[in-house]
């Protein structure tokens, strides 16, 4: 945990310094949107380890809900999408350091993140849920107090677990946390309800969801601060995709239901 805080601290430190330099550059050479249009390419970061939202398939290609949304957005902007797989713990730092233009990776819009980056309107709605073994004594999220609860580093799950006063066990990815729960080393896992359901179904883990959704989440597309033109452009296309049913169609393809409306 300490080590993670260190890394995060350093990334944040650079992110803060970088944001200063970044904005200087953009004021000199037009907005990010102009640059994207000029290059004919939008660089989009996607984690690639969060099925079914985004992951690598057997052809070593990125696919999933986020990938379809990202490609559709690029198409509507009239530019080529360049997808860049980036580890979750360095994804915001890399955006701020201008390693890519936007992040389309199921990122929840939070006040903490808004300090460093900007978001579009939400493109889907989800929530964090507590998964426990079927025979667990935990009957209610409040029972998680003092229990060992796993979650992904840098994700909302850690905050939620902390609020429940659980003993937080951070993992690199969710499915490792689920494996540890199956081995009996931790008492529960907090993650996105869709992701958790997908993992337990795929691996036949005897787990259940306790209680309601712990935290409502609105996932947005992440971009650097001060890029209002780019944000408006993305919001316009998102609204269009919502209106003409494209967004709902993509959701139905991956989840069999529409997660893009509340």
């Amino acid at each position: 945990m300490k080590k993670f805080k260190w890394i995060l601290g350093i990334i944040t430190l650079f992110a803060v310094v970088a944001s200063g330099c970044g904005s200087q550059e953009s004021s000199a050479g037009g907005t990010q949107l102009d640059k994207i249009k000029e290059a004919g390419v939008i660089r989009i970061a996607i984690e690639g380890a969060y099925p079914p939202y985004n992951y690598f398939n057997a052809q070593n290609q990125l696919e999933g809900f986020d990938v379809d949304v990202a490609n559709e957005l690029a198409k509507r902007m009239g530019v080529k999408a360049e997808l860049i797989a980036t580890p979750w713990d360095s994804i915001i730092g890399s955006l701020v350091a201008d390693k890519f233009d936007i992040i389309v990776s199921s990122m929840n819009i939070t006040e903490e993140r808004k300090q460093k980056v900007d978001f579009t309107d939400p493109y889907f709605y989800t929530g964090q849920a507590l998964f426990v073994p079927e025979n667990s004594p935990i009957q209610d999220p409040a029972d998680a107090k003092g229990k060992k609860i796993g979650g992904q580093i840098g994700a909302m799950a850690i905050d939620v677990a902390t609020q429940l006063e659980a003993e937080v066990v951070p993992y690199k990815t969710d499915y490792i946390a689920f494996e540890d729960m199956a081995l009996g080393r931790i008492d529960g896992v907090i993650t996105d309800k869709g992701v958790g359901a997908s993992i337990s179904k795929e691996k036949n883990y005897p787990v259940k969801v306790v209680g309601d959704v712990l935290l409502e989440e609105n996932a947005g597309i992440t971009l650097n601060k001060g890029q209002d033109a780019l944000r408006e452009e993305l919001n316009k296309h998102l609204a269009d995709m919502r209106k003409d049913g494209t967004l709902a169609a993509i959701s139905n393809k991956w989840f069999g239901r529409d997660i893009t409306t509340k």
């Binding site: 099925p51 992951y55 070593n60 890399s94 499915y175």
Partner: protein, 218 residues
């Protein structure tokens, strides 16, 4: 319970990623060897300011985590207007790190050469560069080789840290496919085997080099 048939169709991508791992390792070892030699020569130069520079470099580099150094190169240098792509950033950071370790390995080798040899060479009228090149370094290299082998193998495995700056090397590729199949033990065992193959290859080359350089001992 373990299902390795899953891994089969990903083998080509894992091999491709192994090649990236090898590239990172070989390039950063090359940088480390050159940087290390110069640092070692500064370190034993007897000229105070130059020695101090070498000492400082070794102190900082060995004393801080490699992970932080890689992040500094990738995220830090852009602040100074130097924007480096992920692959060169990883190679640079690893090479810079290896240089400090190699410097100390060279130094140990150089200092293991008896003073008498140097005095003998001086009495023959040889200058410092010539003594280094013809007498000291060839012997020092032989003494240093096992330790260099160790460091090289460590470096090959440390190249997995490049995944943090989006370089798709073996560990990154394994993590991806482990995630999309929820099968991490299978993919990580496969990665371990591939690392073992690469380190075995390194050991083999080093053994050959050691044999060649020790001809004079026979």
């Amino acid at each position: 319970m373990l299902d390795f048939s899953l891994v089969a169709k990903y083998i080509p991508y894992l091999l491709e990623a192994s090649l990236v791992t090898l590239e990172i390792a070989v390039l950063s070892i090359a940088i480390g060897l050159i940087l290390g030699l110069f640092t070692a020569l500064l370190r034993i130069s007897g000229i105070r300011p130059l020695e101090a520079i070498a000492r400082f470099y070794i102190w900082v580099t060995r004393g801080t985590p490699l992970l932080v150094q890689i992040l500094l190169v990738y995220f830090g240098l852009p602040q100074l207007g130097i924007d480096i792509a992920p692959f060169p950033a990883a190679v640079l950071a690893l090479g810079f790190n290896a240089g400090a370790y190699f410097a100390e390995i060279y130094r140990a080798g150089i200092q293991s050469i008896p003073k008498g040899q140097i005095e003998a060479a001086q009495s023959l009228g040889m200058g410092y560069p010539l003594i280094m090149r013809r007498i000291v370094l060839p012997q020092a290299l032989r003494v240093s080789l096992p330790a260099m082998g160790n460091e090289s193998i460590t470096l090959l495995k440390d190249s997995s840290l490049a995944s943090l700056v989006t370089v798709t090397e073996l560990m990154m590729a394994s993590q991806r496919f482990a995630a999309s199949n929820y099968a991490f033990i299978e993919f990580y065992i496969t990665a371990a085997v591939l690392y073992l193959v690469m380190t075995t290859f390194f050991s083999f080359i080093l053994n050959r080099a050691e044999k060649r350089l020790s001809i004079s001992d026979r």
